[in-house]
Symmetry: C2
Subunit: 112 residues, 2 copies
């Protein structure tokens, strides 16, 4: 796994590409070999492997070689980092809405 | 706004940087001027502006200039694209779990 100061850098970088998102969608249905994954893309294998390495580097997938076949599987737990970030962001908005509500309520009470 | 074939490319690209995520976290608490946003970062203004442009290009923030001050605000609706993608991904895993359950149940019924 590559070293990022924050794992989210690598995770979001990995997600910023349509081929990599398509691979994740395919792996969401279950593990698959590299050749099965590469099938739908009109792309040379070395180019496709760069995408696999980016995904593996981010921790979003893991790969395992058995004999001549490398199988890829999604690492669902890694997606928790994205959801945690989204929750934090949402909590900030919520806090802002709550503060606005307090302000309005407080202003209304003063008017009474 | 920059043109990406899929808006998610630009959104995830924008999120793949700690400075840009910190700016989003700050803007989550409410709009702010460029100089207020740049304050906490030991970064030259042109470098900081590149981050602002990346965020604006992705549609995650909008900026507005009034006189000499440019104010940035978060575009909460844009985050819906991330959540939609996560939901689709989660639905695939869920489908897989459901199919596995069906298989196990079916196998158990055959044994009876």
């Amino acid at each position: 796994m590559e070293q990022y100061s924050d794992p989210l850098d690598g995770i979001f970088q990995a997600l910023a590409d349509p081929t990599r998102r398509a691979v994740l969608a395919r792996l969401g249905r279950g593990p698959a070999s590299i050749s099965d994954l590469a099938g739908p893309f009109s792309m040379a294998l070395p180019s496709f492997m760069k995408h696999i390495h980016a995904l593996e580097g981010s921790g979003l997938i893991r790969t395992q070689k058995q004999g001549r076949v490398r199988t890829c599987a999604i690492e669902e737990s890694r997606f928790a980092a994205i959801e945690a970030w989204m929750s934090t962001q949402r909590a900030l908005w919520q806090g802002r809405t709550d503060r606005l509500e307090q302000f309005v309520t407080s202003a209304e009470n003063k008017e009474k």
